[in-house]
């Protein structure tokens, strides 16, 4: 009996060692590229190229200084932030009331919306972008922040409607009915009672919208020249300028990645629901 227990314990111990080794390998695989990029961004140019790689070195910020001084990098960041923020705000203003109404209307109407969302995602971006490209060149919105902000509504607005509907669905209908019995108008009930209850949902939704705007590349590269250029586009033209100046490339990549990682951690609880449109929670 004792012998049996001992082999069992050893077996368990081996299992846990194997288990944590596997986890270590998996995490290493998924995180190494990011860690390596951040490390390379604080190396000097010759250290970045040294083979075998240097693991211990004196960190330097010269790559960051050079990307911010050689190029108007700060302006590109501001462009990205402004376009993302304005598009998100507009999507929220238009989308939240719609989401609320859809959540309160009889079921069945949501189906059309979900199909619509899917279809805006299915279409190849070129199908959407060519008419915008031609139109914007005619009416002077090409290479303007406003132009890109409007185009970003194509994915931000359906997203807000769909995700916010899920948040409103969690609030019982009786609550707005009680408010309206007490003499509130529907609008008052929505604005001052229901909406504040979805604060955390609103926050998560806006962050997710900001993230997809910050990451968007195809529309940005086709609809902007230099004036409204966003960060991802700036980084790619950067490759052509610097060739293989790895330190600077890594610094640029780090500048894109850090906000994403920070905000990603903040919304991690809503990430799965957000990215599957609530199909998996």
């Amino acid at each position: 009996m004792i012998l049996y227990n001992r082999t069992k314990i050893i077996k368990r111990a081996i299992w846990w060692v194997v288990f944590y080794t596997l986890i270590f390998v998996i995490l290493g695989y998924f995180l190494f590229p990011v860690v390596w990029t951040i490390l390379t961004s604080i190396k000097t140019e010759s250290e970045a190229f040294s083979m075998p790689p240097k693991w211990i070195f004196k960190p330097t910020f010269e790559n960051y200084v050079s990307i911010f001084t050689k190029q108007p990098f700060l302006r590109y960041i501001m462009n990205s932030v402004m376009i993302g923020a304005l598009s998100t705000l507009l999507a929220l203003i238009l989308g939240t009331p719609a989401a609320y109404a859809l959540s309160r209307m009889k079921s069945g109407k949501g189906e059309g919306i979900s199909f619509f969302i899917l279809s805006t995602r299915i279409a190849p971006p070129t199908l959407i972008i060519l008419p915008f490209f031609l139109l914007y060149r005619q009416i002077g919105l090409y290479d303007r922040k406003v132009g890109l902000m409007i185009v970003y509504l194509i994915f931000n607005l359906p997203f807000v409607v769909w995700i916010m509907k899920l948040f409103f669905d969690e609030i019982p209908k009786e609550l707005d009915e009680a408010a309206m019995v007490d003499g509130c108008s529907r609008m008052r009930a929505f604005l001052s009672i229901i909406l504040p209850l979805t604060r955390s949902g609103l926050a998560a939704t806006s962050i997710l919208c900001m993230i997809s705007s910050w990451n968007e590349f195809f529309f940005a590269v086709t609809l902007t020249g230099d004036r409204a250029k966003t960060l991802p586009v700036a980084v790619t033209s950067f490759i052509q300028f610097t060739g293989t100046r790895w330190g600077e490339l890594c610094a640029a990549a780090t500048v894109i990645m850090i906000p994403l990682i920070v905000f990603g951690f903040i919304v991690q609880k809503n990430l799965v629901a957000g990215m599957t449109f609530g199909a998996v929670k």
């Binding site: 109404a101 805006t120 995602r121 199908l127 060519l130 599957t276």
Partner: protein, 295 residues
């Protein structure tokens, strides 16, 4: 009373109207304009020659080997990449679907790849794949694999892009699968164990059927996005070497923004849209059959 209710629901429509109007304007307008453009010989560089040519663009597309090759590459990229992402994601999720110290941290860290811009991911992997000082060659040298120009080689470039896509999106498949696994009720598994089912049996007859809707959702979303993949090609290979990484979306982009054949590019985009709508509606149908009413 009945009247009041009707009035109320009409009022509710006012909440929906602004969003619907804006959405129609920004999505239906381009759709119709693209359909019209696809029937024209429309080259931005020769505005004097713009004319209606009916379905000629479509005919040309089907006899163009570059179009077919791009389509094949996209199908290859999508099917190969997405199926590996799904299998790997599911395996890792099954491994981590238990109680252990550090689970929360592991789960948090696993979101990193999927949250990054494809542009940043492309940049990072472009450096990792470098012939002389790239980490891929460095690590593989420990296993006796000789140096290789991963992105500079016709036979490995597309595979390298697929591997990058797998790196980024396996984490997404993993997170969704883990969420799915955690939602599965435990009782049937206990009952099965009491009845003497082995691990494989309970996986085959319990886990998989329970997970089928989740797997289908992930599969559908990944297929949609993978077919549209553009950023990685743009940043890592620019379609080369030769045309070996010219996937559909990149091909359409080049047609429109390098050669300015707007009409031709529109016809390609229309063909892809029709193909994709067909594929996705099939997937959604099988989702509904599985009793998932969420998509």
């Amino acid at each position: 009373m009945e009247n009041k209710k009707k009035k109320r629901s009409r009022k509710m429509l006012l909440y929906v109207l602004p969003a619907v109007l804006v959405l129609l304007a920004i999505s239906i307008y381009p759709l119709i304009r693209s359909l019209i453009l696809s029937l024209y010989n429309y080259n931005l560089l020769r505005p004097d020659r713009i004319r209606f040519i009916g379905l000629e663009n479509f005919g040309n597309a089907f006899s163009d080997t570059n179009f077919w090759n791009a389509l094949k590459r996209t199908a290859y990229f999508t099917l190969f990449g997405v199926s590996i992402e799904l299998v790997l994601g599911m395996l890792i999720a099954m491994l981590l679907n238990r109680k252990f110290v550090g689970k929360g941290i592991v789960r948090s860290l696993m979101i990193v790849p999927m949250i990054l811009s494809p542009v940043a991911v492309g940049l990072v992997w472009r450096i990792l794949y470098d012939y002389d000082a790239g980490m891929v060659n460095y690590f593989l040298s420990f296993f006796g694999v000789s140096q290789l120009a991963w992105l500079g080689n016709q036979s490995t470039a597309l595979l390298s892009l697929i591997a990058t896509d797998i790196w980024q999106w396996t984490s997404f498949c993993f997170l969704v699968c883990l969420a799915g696994l955690e939602n599965i009720p435990q009782e049937p598994f206990e009952a099965a164990r009491i009845d003497g089912a082995n691990r494989f049996q309970s996986f085959r007859y319990l886990t998989l059927p329970f997970m089928k809707p989740v797997l289908l959702v992930v599969f559908t979303l990944r297929v949609i996005d993978s077919v549209k993949m553009f950023d990685l090609v743009f940043i890592m290979t620019n379609g080369g070497p030769g045309r070996s990484t010219e996937t559909m979306n990149f091909f359409i982009y080049q047609t429109a923004f390098k050669f300015f054949h707007i009409g031709r590019a529109s016809s390609y985009a229309v063909i892809i849209t029709i193909l994709m709508s067909f594929t996705v509606s099939l997937l959604v149908k099988s989702l509904k059959k599985g009793g998932n009413d969420l998509v």
